[in-house]
Symmetry: D2
Subunit: 269 residues, 4 copies
């Protein structure tokens, strides 16, 4: 059997020991990328053993996103900036699972939290959870902290960074490294000052400083830690998937990619 | 001994049976008004037995204000208007104990809550608890509900009522009946329509309706109930005060007004 | 076109004017029952126009369950019993959307909340949201309030009702009327005393009273009101579905039951 | 004028330049210790200028205790142990301002929180805020984290440490360094293992490990940082006190220790 994270082992076996699959009963994969590669193989008709998609199980998704981010947003901001959350005005861009975690945590710490969201259902949820849904431009001049978690590109533009307050913080909790248009800040008229690991002051000609964390990369990966509890819950899910594949009677799983059975963590509740 | 609520019994004994005080070991009083009358007697040198101020004990103050109002604001609004709290914009005028209770409850129900407050310390507390502190005029056009709990007069003026949205609700949780300038609404150009007990629609010439609860009197007294638990906790405090006065060794209490000893409920934590 | 709630109109047209369907472009249905009947028709190959399932749209599900119950659990309990929530011990049976709403509301009001849940994923969510997940028997003797929202039968048995505290409250927020085994309470040794509308005291031979609300029927329907906002949001969703069906180009919808397109409220976020 | 933190400068001037007080208009002091020394001087009749007690102003007390600890408990635990808060069982010993901050933060992060408290009023507050008030012995075997904030000695005894779970964490947020009986852990049968700065594993003969933070000293001082915002608010309060003393008309302040006037931060709300 193969237990994989990223699909590299699977790829390597395909390349080096293609005959090995005759003796392999299945693949268990936990990452977005690896799962994506498995679905491609399956679509191309090249998947020769059953595979289990652990990445999309509830235990992985909820922990990686909602529960982890609820804690790591606070942790990441504290370790890098020592900012006090109480009374701060914060805008969170995106109200998916990550955004829900970030807003809940900051609200509980006494921050005044705004949400930007283009999806109407997520907007409605933000609203019913007590957050003002705004356009970024409406609050850009008054917020102390901007957090992106949309999965989109250039959510915070140079034009918006130009209008931020002196001393405000901007960071990214989303999926890509391009949510904040960091490239636009690498221009001659702006000075960058590295004040400590993962923390840059970007300084405007008039002396205004914006605090950029992790150069726009993921705050939760760069500036906080992943609790061992979360690692162990993901590993446990993989182990369960492994056991399921190994013990499954002939014919239950074909040469396809499967989600875990519901009792093992696959439900959308 | 005298156990009193409002000071009327005390007053009656003073008037009718002044000699009775020779046999009376003390007075226990639970209301603001009654306590006020006792302090006046004491100041005038006319208090002839020890008196216990139960009104200012923590068990009474916290329950009457913070804990009760946290529940009765929701109850009072629901019973009168069936309003859904989630997503509503609410401004709470005053951030004392009553305001703290109201804001906490509405925030938890998913309302977007603003606070007005003139005391700098209370403002700071509101801010650190995650509420935007505003001037009423800043938000008057956008809020769905106005709640007053300041203890002051004319906190909501006619001019402000003129600018409220159609369908918005205005009510009073404070100490007096004059926080909302209801008198100013009794003018010929406005029509009043009683839609049910304690609920009036005040209708502007252009058709705009503002929902006024309890004609500006206290919502928590007029439109919700007091849980028996709260009545019993106040009665218990009075009973404890009674026992303390009765059992106190000669000389512990003089002809003055006393707060309960700390172990019996008097602390400012 | 047909706009229906419960499927009765659809049924009536089928029976009386089957030819009418030649001129009908579609059906829009908002209830669980009506949707169930539509799927049966579809399965039997008898559905002769496209139908839109509004019941399972997010705007309906989230509002009917999570957002409404978060408010109606408090409202229903207050109107019937005037109970103070602060400091009360409450057990909520079931941690689906209804359970999530009930627990969030009561936690915010200062209740100490326990959850029972058999689904492992929902249990994990309850745990990560800060609730102790217990078996009902572990807490039955200490809780002040039991709330059922599981959708199952006999979640609270006679044996458990026998062990409840004097003065405790039991009510049902779930889907059926049989979550509490009320039938088992209709025995000669127990006395029922109707104290007010929707409120019965069931009295044990030793004098213990348990307060049963709405005779075990749904508290949110029997003892609280549905905000007009929720009615209007469901009606709006139906109207949108109607417009979609009416305007859809030939061939987009066949003789089947459809969920709303995502932009109109169908997503599982 | 003298601006002091701890009373050392004041002491030094008393000793070296006692005549200097002829030219000094007042002392401003911000620490508990320094204020204590001033009150002693005053009582002994040796205070020769007015002094302002900044320590007991609301802006200092609320920030040092409630607001700071609400954040630093999370920060201190994360930086030292990377523990995930969601779903953890935590007992907080003491429900003063520090305990209120710690419990609020952990509850918001999804921990199941118990409180121990001997003061009846604070117990009642904990209860009304939704925490189960217990004796430490009732929960010692099940909790994952113990946090002390009582100001008392030996709140957690060796006997209790013996009964803690493997992997549980114990730390101190209170006033003294003796809340946890750390001395009792320095015995031959227990092994100490320093796993990183401020973190010791104390290992029992059966292999059980208890994670002791900062050797029982204050977690918020040892393992987290004080936001500059808090330092600046205290400094601002001192500056205001300084200005008040300097500008006060002759006779407003005598040779005594004063609290700040209410408008400058002294109120007990």
């Amino acid at each position: 059997m193969i237990i994989d994270d990223g699909g590299d082992l699977t790829h390597w076996v395909y390349k080096k020991y293609p005959n090995g699959f005759k003796k392999i009963r299945g693949i268990v994969e936990e990452s977005v990328t690896g799962v994506h590669r498995l679905y491609q193989l399956s679509k191309a008709g090249k998947l020769c053993v059953p595979a289990m998609n652990v990445n999309d199980s509830v235990t992985k998704q909820k922990f990686d996103n909602l529960y982890c981010c609820r804690e790591s947003i606070l942790d990441g901001l504290k370790r890098t900036t020592d900012v006090m959350f109480g009374g701060k005005q914060v805008v969170v861009c995106g109200y998916g699972e990550v955004g829900k975690g970030c807003t809940a945590a900051l609200k509980a710490m006494g921050s005044i939290v705004y949400v930007t969201e283009i999806d109407p259902i997520c907007s409605l949820q933000a609203c019913m959870d007590g957050f003002r849904v705004v356009k970024l431009n409406e609050v850009i001049r008054q917020v102390d902290i901007i957090i992106t978690c949309t999965g989109n590109k250039n959510v915070v533009t140079r034009d918006q960074l130009d209008r931020m307050k002196n001393g405000s913080i901007v960071c990214n909790m989303g999926h890509s490294n391009t949510e904040i248009d960091v490239a636009s800040l690498r221009t001659p008229e702006l000075t960058w000052e590295r004040v400590r690991s993962q923390v840059d002051h970007v300084i405007w000609p008039d002396g205004k400083r914006v605090i950029l964390l992790a150069e726009g990369r993921l705050l939760n990966l760069s500036c906080s830690t992943v609790p061992t509890f979360v690692l162990s819950i993901t590993a446990t899910t993989q182990a369960l998937a492994l056991i399921e594949l190994y013990n499954a009677p002939e014919g239950r799983y074909k040469q396809d990619v499967y989600l875990l059975p519901k009792k093992m963590g696959n439900t959308d509740k």
